[in-house]
Amino acid sequence: MDIRYYIFLSIALFVTGIIGVLTRRNAIVIFMCIELMLNAVNLLLVAFSKMHYKALAATNPTAGTDGQLFVFFIMVVAAAEVSVGLAIIVMLYRNTRSVDINFLNRLKH
Protein backbone atom coordinates (compact mmCIF):
# COMPACT_ATOMS: atom_id res chain seq x y z
CA MET A 1 0.00 0.00 0.00
CA ASP A 2 1.08 3.54 -0.61
CA ILE A 3 2.92 5.18 2.33
CA ARG A 4 0.56 8.13 2.16
CA TYR A 5 -2.34 6.09 3.55
CA TYR A 6 -0.30 5.33 6.64
CA ILE A 7 0.72 8.94 7.04
CA PHE A 8 -2.88 10.10 6.78
CA LEU A 9 -4.10 7.45 9.21
CA SER A 10 -1.52 8.28 11.85
CA ILE A 11 -2.02 12.02 11.44
CA ALA A 12 -5.76 11.47 11.87
CA LEU A 13 -5.10 9.50 15.09
CA PHE A 14 -2.64 12.14 16.27
CA VAL A 15 -5.06 15.00 15.65
CA THR A 16 -7.83 13.07 17.42
CA GLY A 17 -5.48 12.81 20.39
CA ILE A 18 -4.65 16.53 20.34
CA ILE A 19 -8.31 17.51 20.10
CA GLY A 20 -9.09 15.19 22.99
CA VAL A 21 -6.35 16.71 25.15
CA LEU A 22 -7.54 20.23 24.41
CA THR A 23 -11.29 19.67 24.90
CA ARG A 24 -11.88 16.95 27.49
CA ARG A 25 -12.03 17.72 31.21
CA ASN A 26 -11.47 14.28 32.71
CA ALA A 27 -7.82 13.64 33.59
CA ILE A 28 -8.02 9.97 32.64
CA VAL A 29 -9.58 10.69 29.25
CA ILE A 30 -6.88 13.30 28.57
CA PHE A 31 -4.35 10.71 29.51
CA MET A 32 -5.85 8.20 27.08
CA CYS A 33 -5.72 10.83 24.33
CA ILE A 34 -2.00 11.33 25.02
CA GLU A 35 -1.48 7.59 24.67
CA LEU A 36 -3.36 7.76 21.38
CA MET A 37 -0.90 10.41 20.19
CA LEU A 38 2.02 8.18 21.11
CA ASN A 39 0.49 5.21 19.32
CA ALA A 40 -0.06 7.29 16.20
CA VAL A 41 3.68 7.97 16.28
CA ASN A 42 4.41 4.26 16.71
CA LEU A 43 2.32 3.42 13.67
CA LEU A 44 4.04 6.08 11.61
CA LEU A 45 7.50 4.92 12.65
CA VAL A 46 6.76 1.33 11.66
CA ALA A 47 5.36 2.49 8.30
CA PHE A 48 8.43 4.64 7.61
CA SER A 49 10.66 1.78 8.66
CA LYS A 50 9.09 -0.47 6.03
CA MET A 51 9.31 2.33 3.47
CA HIS A 52 13.04 2.85 4.04
CA TYR A 53 13.59 -0.90 3.97
CA LYS A 54 11.85 -1.20 0.62
CA ALA A 55 13.89 1.65 -0.84
CA LEU A 56 17.30 0.55 0.44
CA ALA A 57 17.08 -3.23 0.97
CA ALA A 58 19.23 -3.95 -2.09
CA THR A 59 22.28 -2.10 -0.71
CA ASN A 60 21.67 -2.29 3.04
CA PRO A 61 19.78 -5.32 4.41
CA THR A 62 19.29 -3.70 7.84
CA ALA A 63 17.81 -0.45 6.51
CA GLY A 64 14.87 0.77 8.53
CA THR A 65 15.33 -1.48 11.56
CA ASP A 66 16.14 1.49 13.79
CA GLY A 67 12.61 2.80 13.25
CA GLN A 68 11.11 -0.36 14.69
CA LEU A 69 13.63 -0.26 17.52
CA PHE A 70 12.48 3.23 18.39
CA VAL A 71 8.93 1.94 18.77
CA PHE A 72 10.01 -0.34 21.61
CA PHE A 73 11.63 2.56 23.39
CA ILE A 74 8.46 4.62 23.03
CA MET A 75 6.44 1.75 24.52
CA VAL A 76 8.79 1.40 27.49
CA VAL A 77 8.83 5.12 28.18
CA ALA A 78 5.05 5.32 27.78
CA ALA A 79 4.68 2.54 30.35
CA ALA A 80 6.90 4.43 32.78
CA GLU A 81 4.86 7.55 32.17
CA VAL A 82 1.62 5.68 32.75
CA SER A 83 2.77 4.42 36.11
CA VAL A 84 3.78 7.89 37.27
CA GLY A 85 0.74 9.55 35.73
CA LEU A 86 -1.81 7.19 37.21
CA ALA A 87 -0.13 7.53 40.60
CA ILE A 88 -0.53 11.30 40.35
CA ILE A 89 -4.18 10.97 39.33
CA VAL A 90 -4.88 8.56 42.21
CA MET A 91 -3.20 10.97 44.61
CA LEU A 92 -5.39 13.80 43.35
CA TYR A 93 -8.49 11.60 43.61
CA ARG A 94 -7.72 10.74 47.23
CA ASN A 95 -7.58 14.39 48.14
CA THR A 96 -10.44 15.75 46.08
CA ARG A 97 -12.64 12.75 45.22
CA SER A 98 -12.62 13.86 41.60
CA VAL A 99 -10.46 13.58 38.50
CA ASP A 100 -11.86 16.71 36.86
CA ILE A 101 -9.10 19.03 35.68
CA ASN A 102 -11.22 22.12 36.28
CA PHE A 103 -9.62 21.92 39.70
CA LEU A 104 -6.43 23.06 38.09
CA ASN A 105 -7.78 26.57 37.76
CA ARG A 106 -7.42 27.01 41.49
CA LEU A 107 -3.73 27.71 41.01
CA LYS A 108 -4.42 30.74 38.84
CA HIS A 109 -4.71 33.72 41.10
Partner: protein
Protein backbone atom coordinates in the same frame (compact mmCIF):
# COMPACT_ATOMS: atom_id res chain seq x y z
CA UNK B 1 30.18 9.32 29.70
CA UNK B 2 31.63 8.95 33.23
CA UNK B 3 29.20 11.52 34.55
CA UNK B 4 26.23 9.72 33.04
CA UNK B 5 27.21 6.32 34.46
CA UNK B 6 28.13 7.69 37.87
CA UNK B 7 24.92 9.60 38.28
CA UNK B 8 22.81 6.61 37.22
CA UNK B 9 24.63 4.35 39.70
CA UNK B 10 24.39 7.01 42.42
CA UNK B 11 20.64 7.19 41.84
CA UNK B 12 20.25 3.47 42.38
CA UNK B 13 22.49 3.57 45.47
CA UNK B 14 20.50 6.45 46.96
CA UNK B 15 17.26 4.62 46.31
CA UNK B 16 18.40 1.56 48.24
CA UNK B 17 20.12 3.55 50.97
CA UNK B 18 16.65 4.45 52.22
CA UNK B 19 16.20 0.84 53.38
CA UNK B 20 19.23 0.64 55.62
CA UNK B 21 20.05 4.24 56.53
CA UNK B 22 17.55 5.86 58.84
CA UNK B 23 19.28 9.05 59.87
CA UNK B 24 18.60 11.99 57.56
CA UNK B 25 22.00 13.51 58.16
CA UNK B 26 23.69 10.32 56.93
CA UNK B 27 21.53 10.23 53.81
CA UNK B 28 22.41 13.84 53.11
CA UNK B 29 26.10 13.15 53.62
CA UNK B 30 25.96 10.15 51.31
CA UNK B 31 24.21 12.17 48.60
CA UNK B 32 26.86 14.90 48.75
CA UNK B 33 29.69 12.36 48.62
CA UNK B 34 28.10 10.62 45.61
CA UNK B 35 27.65 13.97 43.90
CA UNK B 36 31.34 14.72 44.47
CA UNK B 37 32.11 11.41 42.73
CA UNK B 38 29.91 12.48 39.81
CA UNK B 39 31.75 15.80 39.78
CA UNK B 40 35.11 13.99 39.63
CA UNK B 41 33.75 11.89 36.75
CA UNK B 42 32.68 15.03 34.91
CA UNK B 43 36.11 16.59 35.32
CA UNK B 44 37.69 13.39 33.97
CA UNK B 45 35.28 13.63 31.02
CA UNK B 46 36.55 17.13 30.34
CA UNK B 47 40.16 15.88 30.43
CA UNK B 48 39.25 13.20 27.90
CA UNK B 49 39.67 10.30 30.35
CA UNK B 50 37.17 7.49 29.83
CA UNK B 51 36.95 5.09 32.74
CA UNK B 52 34.76 2.63 30.89
CA UNK B 53 34.74 2.05 27.17
CA UNK B 54 31.21 1.51 26.01
CA UNK B 55 30.22 1.15 22.39
CA UNK B 56 27.27 3.49 21.94
CA UNK B 57 26.95 2.89 18.19
CA UNK B 58 27.54 6.59 17.63
CA UNK B 59 24.35 7.50 19.47
CA UNK B 60 25.96 9.21 22.43
CA UNK B 61 29.19 11.16 22.58
CA UNK B 62 30.55 13.91 24.75
CA UNK B 63 32.21 16.86 23.12
CA UNK B 64 33.89 19.51 25.25
CA UNK B 65 30.74 21.58 25.00
CA UNK B 66 28.57 18.79 26.41
CA UNK B 67 31.02 17.93 29.15
CA UNK B 68 31.46 21.55 30.14
CA UNK B 69 27.73 21.99 30.38
CA UNK B 70 27.58 18.84 32.49
CA UNK B 71 30.20 20.39 34.77
CA UNK B 72 28.07 23.50 35.21
CA UNK B 73 25.02 21.34 35.93
CA UNK B 74 26.83 19.19 38.50
CA UNK B 75 28.37 22.19 40.25
CA UNK B 76 24.96 23.88 40.40
CA UNK B 77 23.48 20.69 41.84
CA UNK B 78 26.25 20.57 44.42
CA UNK B 79 25.48 24.14 45.47
CA UNK B 80 21.81 23.21 45.56
CA UNK B 81 22.48 20.18 47.78
CA UNK B 82 24.68 22.15 50.15
CA UNK B 83 22.16 24.98 50.45
CA UNK B 84 18.77 23.32 50.29
CA UNK B 85 19.15 19.59 51.02
CA UNK B 86 18.12 20.18 54.63
CA UNK B 87 14.85 21.75 53.54
CA UNK B 88 13.79 18.62 51.67
CA UNK B 89 13.09 17.01 55.05
CA UNK B 90 10.05 19.23 55.40
CA UNK B 91 8.49 17.99 52.14
CA UNK B 92 7.77 14.39 53.11
CA UNK B 93 9.30 11.34 54.68
CA UNK B 94 10.96 9.80 51.62
CA UNK B 95 14.17 11.69 52.08
CA UNK B 96 16.61 9.38 50.28
CA UNK B 97 14.24 8.90 47.33
CA UNK B 98 14.26 12.62 46.61
CA UNK B 99 18.02 12.47 46.20
CA UNK B 100 17.69 9.34 44.06
CA UNK B 101 15.26 11.14 41.75
CA UNK B 102 17.60 14.12 41.49
CA UNK B 103 20.45 11.81 40.50
CA UNK B 104 18.21 10.26 37.84
CA UNK B 105 17.45 13.76 36.57
CA UNK B 106 21.18 14.37 36.32
CA UNK B 107 21.45 11.19 34.22
CA UNK B 108 18.83 12.67 31.92
CA UNK B 109 20.76 15.94 31.81
CA UNK B 110 23.87 14.04 30.74
CA UNK B 111 21.89 12.32 27.99
CA UNK B 112 20.43 15.57 26.67
CA UNK B 113 23.90 17.10 26.75
CA UNK B 114 25.56 14.26 24.85
CA UNK B 115 23.01 12.91 22.40
CA UNK B 116 24.00 12.22 18.82
CA UNK B 117 20.79 10.46 17.92
CA UNK B 118 17.17 11.53 18.20
CA UNK B 119 16.55 8.35 20.21
CA UNK B 120 18.87 9.51 22.98
CA UNK B 121 17.39 12.99 22.83
CA UNK B 122 13.94 11.52 23.44
CA UNK B 123 15.14 9.18 26.20
CA UNK B 124 17.13 11.96 27.85
CA UNK B 125 14.19 14.32 27.92
CA UNK B 126 11.97 11.61 29.38
CA UNK B 127 14.51 10.49 31.98
CA UNK B 128 14.74 14.13 32.96
CA UNK B 129 11.00 14.81 33.07
CA UNK B 130 9.49 11.73 34.71
CA UNK B 131 11.33 12.14 38.06
CA UNK B 132 10.34 15.81 37.99
CA UNK B 133 6.64 14.91 37.80
CA UNK B 134 7.12 12.94 41.00
CA UNK B 135 9.10 15.70 42.71
CA UNK B 136 6.47 18.28 41.75
CA UNK B 137 3.84 16.21 43.56
CA UNK B 138 6.05 15.26 46.49
CA UNK B 139 3.85 17.02 49.04
CA UNK B 140 1.12 14.44 48.81
CA UNK B 141 -1.42 16.10 51.07
CA UNK B 142 -1.02 19.56 49.64
CA UNK B 143 -3.61 20.22 46.94
CA UNK B 144 -1.48 22.82 45.22
CA UNK B 145 1.36 20.34 44.89
CA UNK B 146 -1.05 17.69 43.53
CA UNK B 147 -2.35 20.07 40.93
CA UNK B 148 1.12 21.18 39.95
CA UNK B 149 2.14 17.56 39.46
CA UNK B 150 -0.93 16.75 37.36
CA UNK B 151 -0.57 19.86 35.26
CA UNK B 152 3.13 19.31 34.74
CA UNK B 153 2.54 15.68 33.89
CA UNK B 154 -0.24 16.34 31.35
CA UNK B 155 1.64 19.20 29.68
CA UNK B 156 4.89 17.26 29.74
CA UNK B 157 3.46 14.14 28.11
CA UNK B 158 1.55 16.23 25.58
CA UNK B 159 4.77 17.92 24.54
CA UNK B 160 6.47 14.52 24.42
CA UNK B 161 3.80 13.50 21.93
CA UNK B 162 4.60 16.53 19.75
CA UNK B 163 8.32 15.84 20.05
CA UNK B 164 7.87 12.20 19.02
CA UNK B 165 5.72 13.11 16.06
CA UNK B 166 8.48 15.49 15.00
CA UNK B 167 11.09 12.75 15.33
CA UNK B 168 8.95 10.31 13.32
CA UNK B 169 8.46 12.82 10.50
CA UNK B 170 12.16 13.71 10.40
CA UNK B 171 12.91 9.99 10.26
CA UNK B 172 10.49 9.62 7.39
CA UNK B 173 12.27 12.35 5.45
CA UNK B 174 15.88 11.46 6.18
CA UNK B 175 15.84 7.72 6.98
CA UNK B 176 18.08 8.11 10.01
CA UNK B 177 17.86 9.12 13.64
CA UNK B 178 21.44 10.38 13.75
CA UNK B 179 21.69 14.14 14.25
CA UNK B 180 23.89 14.82 11.23
CA UNK B 181 23.42 17.94 9.10
CA UNK B 182 20.74 17.38 6.56
CA UNK B 183 21.48 18.89 3.16
CA UNK B 184 18.59 19.14 0.73
CA UNK B 185 19.47 17.47 -2.56
CA UNK B 186 18.25 20.03 -5.10
CA UNK B 187 17.69 22.97 -2.79
CA UNK B 188 14.19 21.79 -1.96
CA UNK B 189 13.46 20.79 1.62
CA UNK B 190 10.98 17.89 1.86
CA UNK B 191 7.70 18.89 3.46
CA UNK B 192 7.97 15.99 5.92
CA UNK B 193 11.24 17.39 7.21
CA UNK B 194 9.89 20.92 7.62
CA UNK B 195 6.80 19.68 9.46
CA UNK B 196 8.85 17.37 11.65
CA UNK B 197 11.28 20.14 12.50
CA UNK B 198 8.41 22.47 13.44
CA UNK B 199 6.94 19.84 15.75
CA UNK B 200 10.35 19.29 17.36
CA UNK B 201 10.61 23.06 17.80
CA UNK B 202 7.17 23.26 19.45
CA UNK B 203 7.78 20.21 21.63
CA UNK B 204 11.09 21.54 22.90
CA UNK B 205 9.62 25.01 23.39
CA UNK B 206 7.06 23.42 25.70
CA UNK B 207 9.84 21.76 27.66
CA UNK B 208 11.89 24.92 28.10
CA UNK B 209 8.72 26.99 28.63
CA UNK B 210 9.24 29.46 25.80
CA UNK B 211 6.19 31.59 24.96
CA UNK B 212 3.55 30.90 23.68
CA UNK B 213 4.00 27.46 25.23
CA UNK B 214 4.85 28.78 28.68
CA UNK B 215 1.39 28.91 30.29
CA UNK B 216 1.96 25.88 32.51
CA UNK B 217 5.20 27.22 33.99
CA UNK B 218 4.05 29.74 36.62
CA UNK B 219 1.40 27.39 38.03
CA UNK B 220 3.73 24.41 38.19
CA UNK B 221 6.61 26.39 39.68
CA UNK B 222 4.28 28.02 42.16
CA UNK B 223 2.53 24.81 43.21
CA UNK B 224 5.53 22.51 43.55
CA UNK B 225 7.42 22.39 46.84
CA UNK B 226 9.79 25.38 46.75
CA UNK B 227 12.88 23.19 47.24
CA UNK B 228 12.16 21.37 44.02
CA UNK B 229 11.10 24.47 42.11
CA UNK B 230 14.63 25.69 42.67
CA UNK B 231 16.08 22.67 40.85
CA UNK B 232 13.37 22.59 38.20
CA UNK B 233 13.90 26.23 37.25
CA UNK B 234 17.68 26.03 36.97
CA UNK B 235 19.52 22.85 36.03
CA UNK B 236 16.62 21.22 34.23
CA UNK B 237 15.74 24.30 32.26
CA UNK B 238 19.33 24.86 31.19
CA UNK B 239 19.51 21.21 30.09
CA UNK B 240 16.50 21.82 27.85
CA UNK B 241 18.38 24.62 26.13
CA UNK B 242 21.48 22.52 25.60
CA UNK B 243 19.31 19.90 23.92
CA UNK B 244 17.59 22.60 21.86
CA UNK B 245 20.81 24.22 20.73
CA UNK B 246 22.63 20.97 19.98
CA UNK B 247 19.71 19.61 17.98
CA UNK B 248 19.40 22.68 15.78
CA UNK B 249 23.14 23.05 15.49
CA UNK B 250 23.82 19.43 14.55
CA UNK B 251 20.81 18.51 12.47
CA UNK B 252 19.09 21.59 11.09
CA UNK B 253 21.84 24.16 10.56
CA UNK B 254 21.78 23.67 6.78
CA UNK B 255 18.11 24.50 6.49
CA UNK B 256 18.29 27.55 8.75
CA UNK B 257 16.07 29.77 6.56
CA UNK B 258 13.19 27.43 7.36
CA UNK B 259 13.21 28.11 11.09
CA UNK B 260 15.23 31.29 11.82
CA UNK B 261 12.28 33.65 11.66
CA UNK B 262 10.08 31.41 13.79
CA UNK B 263 12.74 31.11 16.50
CA UNK B 264 13.24 34.89 16.43
CA UNK B 265 9.50 35.39 16.96
CA UNK B 266 9.47 32.89 19.84
CA UNK B 267 12.43 34.69 21.46
CA UNK B 268 10.73 38.07 21.18
CA UNK B 269 7.39 36.83 22.50
CA UNK B 270 9.07 34.96 25.37
CA UNK B 271 11.05 38.03 26.42
CA UNK B 272 7.96 40.21 26.21
CA UNK B 273 5.55 37.93 28.05
CA UNK B 274 8.03 36.89 30.74
CA UNK B 275 9.16 40.39 31.61
CA UNK B 276 5.83 42.16 31.41
CA UNK B 277 3.98 39.58 33.51
CA UNK B 278 6.74 39.37 36.11
CA UNK B 279 6.23 43.06 36.86
CA UNK B 280 2.74 42.44 38.21
CA UNK B 281 3.52 39.57 40.59
CA UNK B 282 3.09 39.93 44.34
CA UNK B 283 4.81 36.71 45.38
CA UNK B 284 8.56 36.36 45.02
CA UNK B 285 8.20 32.71 44.03
CA UNK B 286 5.82 33.57 41.21
CA UNK B 287 8.03 36.49 40.17
CA UNK B 288 10.94 34.05 39.90
CA UNK B 289 8.78 31.73 37.79
CA UNK B 290 8.08 34.53 35.31
CA UNK B 291 11.69 35.68 35.51
CA UNK B 292 12.69 32.16 34.48
CA UNK B 293 10.52 32.58 31.38
CA UNK B 294 12.16 35.92 30.68
CA UNK B 295 15.64 34.43 31.09
CA UNK B 296 14.56 31.56 28.81
CA UNK B 297 14.05 34.19 26.10
CA UNK B 298 17.68 35.21 26.43
CA UNK B 299 18.94 31.64 26.43
CA UNK B 300 16.90 30.92 23.35
CA UNK B 301 18.87 33.58 21.48
CA UNK B 302 21.68 31.00 21.43
CA UNK B 303 19.44 28.74 19.34
CA UNK B 304 18.85 31.64 16.97
CA UNK B 305 22.53 32.55 16.61
CA UNK B 306 24.26 29.12 16.60
CA UNK B 307 27.85 30.38 16.50
CA UNK B 308 30.82 30.03 18.83
CA UNK B 309 29.81 33.11 20.83
CA UNK B 310 26.42 31.52 21.37
CA UNK B 311 28.10 28.37 22.71
CA UNK B 312 30.26 30.34 25.15
CA UNK B 313 27.27 32.44 26.04
CA UNK B 314 24.95 29.54 26.72
CA UNK B 315 27.44 27.85 29.05
CA UNK B 316 28.05 31.12 30.87
CA UNK B 317 24.34 31.87 30.97
CA UNK B 318 23.55 28.44 32.39
CA UNK B 319 26.12 29.00 35.15
CA UNK B 320 25.13 32.60 35.93
CA UNK B 321 21.41 31.92 35.91
CA UNK B 322 21.62 28.66 37.89
CA UNK B 323 23.90 30.07 40.59
CA UNK B 324 21.81 33.19 41.08
CA UNK B 325 18.45 31.44 41.07
CA UNK B 326 19.56 28.62 43.36
CA UNK B 327 20.93 31.22 45.78
CA UNK B 328 17.74 33.27 45.86
CA UNK B 329 15.56 30.19 46.22
CA UNK B 330 17.74 28.84 49.05
CA UNK B 331 16.87 31.93 51.12
CA UNK B 332 13.29 32.07 49.88
CA UNK B 333 12.57 28.49 51.01
CA UNK B 334 13.29 29.49 54.60
CA UNK B 335 11.16 32.64 54.58
CA UNK B 336 7.77 32.46 56.26
CA UNK B 337 6.09 35.02 54.01
CA UNK B 338 7.07 34.56 50.38
CA UNK B 339 5.61 37.81 49.10
CA UNK B 340 7.67 40.94 48.47
CA UNK B 341 6.43 42.38 51.80
CA UNK B 342 7.84 39.29 53.49
CA UNK B 343 11.32 40.61 52.76
CA UNK B 344 10.76 44.01 54.39
CA UNK B 345 13.70 45.02 56.52
CA UNK B 346 15.59 41.84 55.72
CA UNK B 347 18.92 43.65 55.42
CA UNK B 348 18.82 44.90 58.99
CA UNK B 349 18.53 41.45 60.57
CA UNK B 350 20.58 39.46 58.06
CA UNK B 351 23.09 41.85 56.49
CA UNK B 352 25.29 39.09 55.04
CA UNK B 353 22.46 37.13 53.41
CA UNK B 354 20.96 40.35 52.07
CA UNK B 355 24.30 41.29 50.51
CA UNK B 356 24.59 37.95 48.72
CA UNK B 357 20.99 38.25 47.54
CA UNK B 358 21.87 41.63 46.06
CA UNK B 359 24.68 40.05 44.05
CA UNK B 360 22.30 37.37 42.73
CA UNK B 361 19.60 39.89 41.85
CA UNK B 362 22.12 42.13 40.08
CA UNK B 363 23.34 39.13 38.15
CA UNK B 364 19.83 38.19 37.06
CA UNK B 365 19.13 41.77 36.03
CA UNK B 366 22.38 41.90 34.06
CA UNK B 367 24.28 44.65 35.86
CA UNK B 368 28.02 44.87 34.93
CA UNK B 369 30.64 43.05 37.01
CA UNK B 370 28.33 40.07 37.47
CA UNK B 371 28.19 36.89 35.42
CA UNK B 372 24.65 37.73 34.35
CA UNK B 373 25.86 40.85 32.53
CA UNK B 374 28.54 39.08 30.53
CA UNK B 375 26.32 36.17 29.59
CA UNK B 376 23.67 38.58 28.30
CA UNK B 377 26.40 40.45 26.43
CA UNK B 378 27.62 37.23 24.79
CA UNK B 379 24.09 36.42 23.70
CA UNK B 380 23.51 39.88 22.24
CA UNK B 381 26.82 39.79 20.39
CA UNK B 382 26.13 36.32 19.04
CA UNK B 383 22.72 37.41 17.78
CA UNK B 384 24.19 40.49 16.13
CA UNK B 385 26.82 38.34 14.40
CA UNK B 386 24.02 36.13 13.16
CA UNK B 387 22.69 39.20 11.37
CA UNK B 388 19.84 40.47 13.47
CA UNK B 389 19.79 43.96 14.91
CA UNK B 390 16.15 44.25 15.95
CA UNK B 391 16.25 41.25 18.24
CA UNK B 392 19.18 42.44 20.42
CA UNK B 393 17.65 45.91 20.67
CA UNK B 394 14.35 44.46 21.81
CA UNK B 395 16.16 42.20 24.29
CA UNK B 396 18.00 45.15 25.82
CA UNK B 397 14.72 46.99 26.23
CA UNK B 398 13.20 43.97 27.96
CA UNK B 399 16.26 43.54 30.19
CA UNK B 400 15.73 47.14 31.30
CA UNK B 401 12.18 46.27 32.34
CA UNK B 402 13.46 43.26 34.27
CA UNK B 403 15.51 45.59 36.47
CA UNK B 404 12.24 46.90 37.91
CA UNK B 405 11.02 43.65 39.44
CA UNK B 406 14.43 42.48 40.61
CA UNK B 407 15.07 45.80 42.31
CA UNK B 408 11.70 45.68 43.97
CA UNK B 409 12.98 42.83 46.12
CA UNK B 410 16.15 44.80 46.78
CA UNK B 411 14.12 47.82 47.82
CA UNK B 412 12.01 45.71 50.19
CA UNK B 413 15.13 44.34 51.84
CA UNK B 414 16.98 47.61 52.29
CA UNK B 415 14.54 50.50 52.33
CA UNK B 416 11.45 49.15 54.06
CA UNK B 417 10.85 48.70 57.76
CA UNK B 418 10.08 45.23 59.05
CA UNK B 419 11.55 42.30 60.88
CA UNK B 420 11.32 39.53 58.30
CA UNK B 421 14.79 38.13 58.86
CA UNK B 422 14.52 37.88 62.65
CA UNK B 423 13.19 34.33 62.78
CA UNK B 424 15.36 32.98 59.97
CA UNK B 425 17.37 29.91 61.01
CA UNK B 426 20.66 29.62 59.13
CA UNK B 427 23.80 27.67 59.91
CA UNK B 428 27.34 28.82 59.34
CA UNK B 429 27.81 26.39 56.45
CA UNK B 430 24.77 27.81 54.68
CA UNK B 431 26.21 31.31 54.89
CA UNK B 432 29.63 30.19 53.67
CA UNK B 433 28.13 28.36 50.66
CA UNK B 434 25.98 31.33 49.78
CA UNK B 435 28.96 33.69 49.97
CA UNK B 436 31.02 31.32 47.80
CA UNK B 437 28.21 31.21 45.25
CA UNK B 438 28.03 35.00 45.20
CA UNK B 439 31.82 35.16 44.86
CA UNK B 440 31.64 32.76 41.90
CA UNK B 441 28.99 34.98 40.31
CA UNK B 442 31.24 38.03 40.58
CA UNK B 443 34.37 36.11 39.56
CA UNK B 444 32.71 34.83 36.39
CA UNK B 445 31.51 38.35 35.71
CA UNK B 446 35.09 39.62 35.71
CA UNK B 447 36.92 36.62 34.26
CA UNK B 448 34.48 34.65 32.07
CA UNK B 449 37.42 32.84 30.50
CA UNK B 450 37.78 30.86 33.74
CA UNK B 451 34.83 28.89 32.46
CA UNK B 452 34.84 29.32 28.71
CA UNK B 453 38.52 28.43 28.23
CA UNK B 454 37.55 24.83 29.00
CA UNK B 455 35.73 24.79 25.68
CA UNK B 456 38.93 25.21 23.72
CA UNK B 457 41.93 23.98 25.70
Amino acid sequence: MNALLFSAISGVLMMFSGISVKRNATVRGLAIVLLLVVLAGTILDLQGVRLLHINTEGMLGFSRFSSLFMLVAVVSTLAYFLLSARDMEAVGNHYSEYFALIFFILTGVAMTAGFQSLLILFLGIEVLSIPLYILAGAEKNNLKSNEAALKYFLMGSFSTGLLLMGIALVYGATGTFATVPFTPADGKVPVLLTTGMMMLLFGLSFKVSAAPFHFWTPDVYDGSPTVFTSFMATVVKAAGFIAFMRLFNDAFSNIAPQWKLLVAVIVAVTLFVGNITAVFQQSVKRMLAYSSIAQAGFMMMAVYALNSDAQDGLILYAAAYSFATIGIFAVLIRMKDQSFEGFNGFARQQPLLAATLVVFLLSLAGIPLTAGFLSKLYMLRATMQAGSLALPLFAVLMAAISVYYYFRLLQAMYFREGNSGATLQVTGGFKVTLVLLAAATILLGVFPELLTQWLYF
